[in-house]
Symmetry: C2
């Protein structure tokens, strides 16, 4: 079955689409009251975030737009130190979108939300003309426990920089799928709650956290360097990239440092906690290939330096220009 | 200047677009920290809502997509009895969208948010291929004061049904603009905080509130009747529709009861409070043409009846089929 403009009218067809696909998949008591706004209990400091997902193709090895749109928003909340709690989703469907695809996407969203421990409590659906594209916005609310102060501006000289695993998997997957290149690369798309929770529960002195998405490692670390007025130095030899992704990068001239990921994070922690943090990451879900990849040095010199495997040093700039369109 | 795919890369062009257009227009201290999630203070029960806006054209008499996307989400929060507090916005921009238009839209969002007393605290921008369309998702968070229990399921026999003003203005505006029909009709697009606040502050026994958007009055009241297991009877003679909109409806065969609005609400209140509620609405911003339009009768007979101006009675069904595409 295909989406028609009537599915976006706000009338009976919209209501049937919501009942039969989204409400059924998400099955949340707050959502199923179907009021215009979801009312939920809450207290303390809130974290809010929003992200739209326009990935092409909708389904790819290791995930789909449904898993992606939950992980993206959950991870954004986690990076502020918040416990993710409530999520809203807005669908913009182009006429001709496949309803069976939507069902699969909704199920994937429900499964991922369950894994991440977040409740989908409000939604909206609009239909526009077009070629059957599916766009999803998710907004998330979490609660920040007292005493947590994690920010891009908190890096200090001497801190250690940890990366939770291999770079470039998601980017390489989307590109390979679109170019019809056969390989075994899978998207890393995952919710990172286990590793963040474990770091905080162990009282690791966490300065800055960021999931490494569009723009890649280079863009995130340049933002940290700028916000913290410091320099970040990386050792290329310590930065994990799988052999398959390395080969693809070599063939296509890609740079793993600006490639997007959907299940990786950077954690900047106090030097004295570096080894414990590494141990925690490696024993957390999705963190088995974590490494200490660099350190914060020379405050007030806001840049990122890469010590290459060949013994040279170069400035690592953030992404400029196009990057890979519609990667998330 | 036109939007290019590079504006969606997550790199420097995205960052410049956000800095120069959105951050400048919204100018919120939480937003301008530019972390992935906004952390805000909060307590008590939360209300959450989300809505995507795909209106075509982007600018129309009485408003634009920017004013619309703030009003829509603010009004959804208000209808649960919440005080709107924080808003996130996600932009999906088709390549070729006009950057000057975006600037106007961002300013309009900022002005409307200011009027409505809500802070824009998080945002996201994606770019996709296409014809220059602009889509905006807004998600909102509000706080629900203790003791408030407003729900579509709370209508009781004897309650009065109030409508805050003329039906059909927004729908008629969009249609006239698209068909290039010249008239003086303007969208009613407005935030309804003043009237909701005044009703609650006066301790009016408010059972149900709903903004009358896509699907129109008929769809909202059918939802109330179904959720409350009651019948709602309306007097056609009491339902305000402007002469211009009436004429347009007559010419084009439109039904004002299923036409969309963006600054009107239905309030169901206890019978003894009906006259005070009407007085309050008429003295609130955007409520000067409010009327008592009907009553809740015969519980358990879930339907909506319209007593026509000619003395007949007909069942008023919710919207089925297409309605007007991309009205909001």
């Amino acid at each position: 079955m295909k989406i028609t403009m009537a599915h976006g009218s706000g009338g009976q067809e919209t209501s049937r689409l919501i009942d039969e696909i989204f409400a059924r998949a998400f099955n949340d008591p707050v959502l199923s009251r179907m009021e215009d706004a979801a009312v939920v209990p809450g207290a303390g400091r809130l974290a809010l975030t929003t992200d739209s997902f326009v990935v092409d193709p909708l389904f790819f090895p290791g995930g789909d737009i449904g898993r992606l749109c939950i992980c993206g928003t959950v991870n954004d909340l986690l990076m502020s130190g918040a416990t993710p709690r409530y999520l809203t989703c807005g669908f913009i469907l182009e006429q001709g979108a496949d309803i069976e695809d939507l069902q699969k996407i909704a199920r994937s969203m429900a499964d991922t939300a369950h894994e991440a421990g977040i409740a989908i409590v409000a939604g909206d659906t609009k239909v526009v003309e077009g070629k059957g594209n599916v766009y999803i916005n998710t907004a998330g609310v979490g609660f920040v426990p007292d005493g947590i102060d994690i920010s891009a501006a908190n890096c200090r000289e001497g801190d250690a920089v940890l990366l939770s695993g291999n770079l470039g998997d998601h980017h390489a997957t989307i590109l390979s799928t679109r170019m019809n290149i056969k390989n075994d690369i899978k998207s890393d798309c995952a919710p990172l709650g286990d590793m963040v929770h474990n770091l905080l529960a162990a009282n690791i002195k966490v300065r800055s956290l960021r999931d490494v998405t569009r723009g890649g490692l280079a863009t995130v670390l340049n933002e940290f360097a700028r916000a913290s007025h410091c320099c970040i130095e990386l050792n290329e030899a310590d930065i994990p990239v799988s052999v398959e992704v390395q080969s693809l990068c070599a063939i296509l001239g890609l740079d793993p440092y600006t490639m997007g990921n959907e299940g990786k994070m950077i954690a900047v922690v106090a030097q004295e906690d570096a080894e414990s943090a590494l141990h925690i990451l490696r024993h957390s879900k999705y963190g088995e290939n974590a490494y200490i990849v660099g350190a914060v040095t020379h405050e007030k010199n806001a840049s990122v330096l890469l010590h290459t495997a060949l013994g040279g040093t170069r400035v690592l700039s953030g992404l400029t220009g196009e990057g890979l369109p519609r990667i998330c």
